[in-house]
Amino acid sequence: MAPPSGLHQSAIPSDFETPFPPLVRSSTVPAGLKSHRADPSHLAPEDAYTPYSPPRRSGTFDSTGTASGTESRAGRARHKDASRSRSRRRKRFQKLLWVKQSYPDNYTDQATFLENLQRNPRVRPYDFWPLVADSTVIVQHVCSVIIFVVCFVGIFQERVSPVSVVGWSSFATFLGWLLWDWWVTNEAPGGWEDDDVRARMIRDGRAYREYRPPRRQDSSGLGSPMLNASTVSISSVSNFPSAASSTTNLLQDHSVPLQRPLHPPGTNTSGGLLAPTQVHSRSASSINTIATQASGAASPTTTAGTAANLIAAGTTAFGGPGTTGFSPATRNRLSTIKSAVLIYFTLLGLSPILKSLTRSTSSDSIWAMSFWLLAINVFFFDYSGSSWSGGLGGAASGGGGGGGPGAHGKQMPVASMSTNAALMASTVLASRLPSTGQVFSLTLFSIEVFGLFPVFRQYARHRSWRYHVVLTVLLVLGAGAGVGMILGDERGWPWKKGLLGMVVGCLIAALAMGGCSWWLIGLQKYKNEIYGPWDPARPIIISRRHWDDD
């Protein structure tokens, strides 16, 4: 442990001011060329200045090296022979600063230089089919955007009746909500299909609540789950009033992070239920935006308030499962319906204002603007869906108001920007339509497509893979058919064009999914992550171990 210091006194040179040993030719050239580093993944010094030298295949140098380094290596090899006898007499180079080295400062030791470098240590190779499966999420979203555009074009060209569009979509939304409600009520008592997920969630919730307690009694980090389960149920009951309170203050975008600390256990333990909260509040705030845009004359607060109210009430309804009692669930449903009716009439009242919103702007600008807005929507959409599928616990803790790793917290504004952009696009598009009814239909439709549908999609994906695939196929077919019908001229029989569109759409989707996945896998060979001792260490702290893992 602590050897007598006399030993070390000898290691520390007393003749401190002595000059360096006379520098000889090749004194800085690495002497030990019989490399100890058989690992080809390590960089050698010459890799630094031969920019594209491939990782070395063998650990030994020979003068028949790769083309880029041949001459220099040959040069070194000569020096090696010349200086070997001299370098033998020296002490071995040590990578220490306190030792008086018998080497100059810019000496680069072949054996120890970059010995701790790791290349791509954490790279997980992608598999083709899982990648394709993951890309369905993007395809779904792009397809729903396409369907929205198609509906707009249809309404704009007066080929589709706006009432039928909004009627069918509202019917579908209602069905979706029923389905959701049914799933959720089924799920509530028995809980999650996956005990593992549940356990992780509980652990997360617990980690969040107990900030950093003394960890003597259960330093393993896994307490008794039963005890925590009881806390879960208690706190999930407490979820209800907090969600209800959230309806009141959803007016600002900030309100979500603000209110969250009020009920962290609830948000945590109700797990995935948090995600609808986010999504809805997102759309709520974006409706708020629209309202403020629209309201030159009208009072924005009331309209936005009611819009937010509906969405938040939807949250409450969707958040129902946590509230195990019977009456709260029913109450939730009732309040959802109430809010739906409220927003319906609000939009109806708002439509005339929206209609004349951009009258002074030329149509070209509107098309360009809505294109960019929809592009923003597609690019910034929160595809991770982590709240439902893989990282249920992660999302729960991430939603817990900064309780989790910062990445989740950072995603939020981007995702809300996506929804905001889409709703703004729909608003400006709607303002091109000639009649109030059309404007109303398109706006309502856009809320359904961009606000509620993504939540449903995510939940369906979480719920069952089969639903997800069916939904994807339906969306692709629908988008293809829609585009086909729109592109086809009005004279012909639209269904033929639609069928053609479906085929082409399927082809394009398959090609894009497969091609992009293949491309991404192909790009992996350029991956070059470098890790070494200079990277900040990731501290392992028991009380928060599972935070640092994800």
């Binding site: 800085t28 010094p45 200045y49 220099s72 600063l97 810019n106 900030y211 990277d535 702290i541 028991i542």
Partner: protein, 486 residues
């Protein structure tokens, strides 16, 4: 007679701001002056500190007016520094421009302009950077830009050297590892007596009072309380260490955003009587805090050198530190206990340190003398001087880089192009910048060309003859040749 140089140290970071880089520049400059060189320091203007100042030892400091962007790093305008920089360089007849700290844009600009003006440049890197996040990638690209055409690079540890070589794609032979140092006189243990210079017997200071089994052991932590200083580890470890070891206590000095966590931990575990939080302290007070303890705990997550652990060892403290960055290179094993950056391991390592202190197995009273012989600024200045000699041709290239430059095309042209005396030609410089990347290379070339044009314009508008040469502060005579290493 060894050559002497006129050296300009350039960095955004200098006094009155406290910090490691600042004191490094000051100490190095002052020791270089002792060795007969002329040193000036160029930094940006601080509040209440503008114009030209003289420090102790005839050190001249230019405070250039510059817009400060963030944490006293100046705003990166690639060219705006050039006119005043040229003026200073010509006034002071500078031969070598030595930049410090990778986050200082003043330093990078100075290196670029100095090369345009045909001066030798050296750069010292004080910090470690990763390769993963976007900020690091950007910083690394900029570093590559400025280091594409630098004569030599100095790093404070071998780990730092590896990092810099990778970040800027340098030839390892043009990177020297020269450590920081401490002023050992400022970090003496309590009741330390100087060994009498006349006694030839090895000096044995009286052994410290042996620690009894019930004596209080004090663990000192002095660091800014930031995430990357490992304050989270500290917060997690302190309650466990104190629970495992009665008769121990902590003294924590420093401030930062994580201080609140520590305070919360203290309150939760009711440790007010065993953990003392001193808050922020000045650098002069560090020694006085250190000598109150027996063990120094350093839980940092990344560290290029870790001057503070050397200071602690110099004060006669047994050091417990995490094995990260350049820290393992800094102190010999009998002064330190290393831990992995994990809560468990830190607790275990501290436990080991406490046990061996209790067993009186650690001769901490010898540490000061040993540290004094390991690290001194005089030595650092000597080694830096060798770098100056190497790049200005006082040492032959073959001797400096250790290979035969006359070997023809077969030898390392990359190195020779960089270090060679003949490499100031614009086209050679452009070649070096062009290799920085597909787009970046062209952009960098454009910058260099613009810089050169500005240089030509300045030569026309403000001709060299019109610039006054300022009289030098009387130079010190080089010390006796016996003690001289040059």
């Amino acid at each position: 007679m060894a050559p002497t140089y006129n050296i300009a140290m350039v960095s955004d970071f200098f006094f009155p701001q406290p910090g490691g880089v600042e004191s490094h520049i000051y100490q190095l400059s002052s020791k270089l002056r002792d060795r007969g060189h002329k040193v000036i320091i160029i930094t940006h203007a601080y509040k209440g500190r503008t114009g030209v100042r003289y420090l102790t030892n005839g050190l001249k400091v230019y405070h250039v007016p510059f817009f400060v962007l963030y944490r006293s790093a100046s705003f990166p305008t690639v060219f705006s520094f050039f006119p005043i920089f040229r003026n200073i360089v010509l006034r002071e007849r500078i031969d070598i421009v030595h930049g410090h700290a990778s986050l200082s844009s003043l330093c990078h600009e100075a290196i670029l302009h100095a090369r345009t003006m045909g001066l030798r440049t050296v750069y010292t890197d004080h910090s470690l950077f990763g390769f993963a996040d976007a900020a690091s990638i950007f910083a690394n690209k900029l570093l590559k830009f400025s280091l594409s055409d630098v004569d030599h690079v100095i790093c404070v540890s071998h780990t730092c050297k590896e990092n810099t070589v990778l970040r800027a794609s340098l030839d390892p032979l043009m990177v020297s590892a020269i450590p920081n140092a401490v002023v050992a006189e400022n970090f003496k243990p309590l009741d330390y007596t100087e060994p009498s210079p006349r006694s030839f017997a090895p000096h044995h200071p009286p052994p410290a009072r042996p620690l009894g089994p019930h004596d209080m052991i004090t663990i000192v932590v002095i660091s800014r309380l930031f995430y990357n200083k490992g304050t989270d580890l500290l917060t997690a470890a302190i309650p466990r260490i104190l629970a495992n070891h009665p008769h121990t206590r902590f003294i924590i000095a420093g401030d930062g955003p994580k201080a609140i966590d520590l305070e919360q931990m203290i309150e939760q575990n009711v440790l007010q009587d065993r953990v003392e939080m001193l808050g922020p302290i000045r650098h002069e007070e560090v020694r006085d805090v250190m000598v109150r303890g027996h063990i120094y705990l350093h839980p940092s997550l990344t560290e290029a050198f870790g001057t503070v652990i050397v200071e602690a060892a110099s004060c006669g403290l047994y050091v417990v530190c995490t094995r990260v960055g350049g820290i393992p290179e800094v102190l010999p094993s009998h002064m330190t206990v290393f831990a992995k950056p994990e809560e468990d391991d830190l607790v275990t390592a501290t436990g080991k340190a406490i046990a061996s202190m209790r067993a009186n197995k650690v001769r901490t009273e010898l540490f000061h003398q040993q540290v004094k012989s390991m690290y001194s600024w005089t030595n650092v200045a000597m080694r830096t001087e060798r770098v100056y000699n190497g790049i200005s041709g006082a040492i032959s290239e073959a001797e400096f880089y250790g290979y035969d430059a006359a070997n023809g095309a077969g030898s390392w042209s990359a190195t020779r192009g960089r270090s060679g005396v003949q490499s100031f030609a614009l086209i050679d410089r452009l070649k070096r910048y062009y290799g920085c990347g597909i787009w970046a290379g062209k952009l960098f070339c454009l910058c260099v060309i613009v810089d050169y044009l500005i240089f030509l314009a300045l030569e026309l508008w403000f001709p060299r003859e019109k610039i006054d040469v300022c009289p030098d502060w009387p130079r010190k005579e080089r010390k006796v040749d016996g003690k001289d290493a040059g």
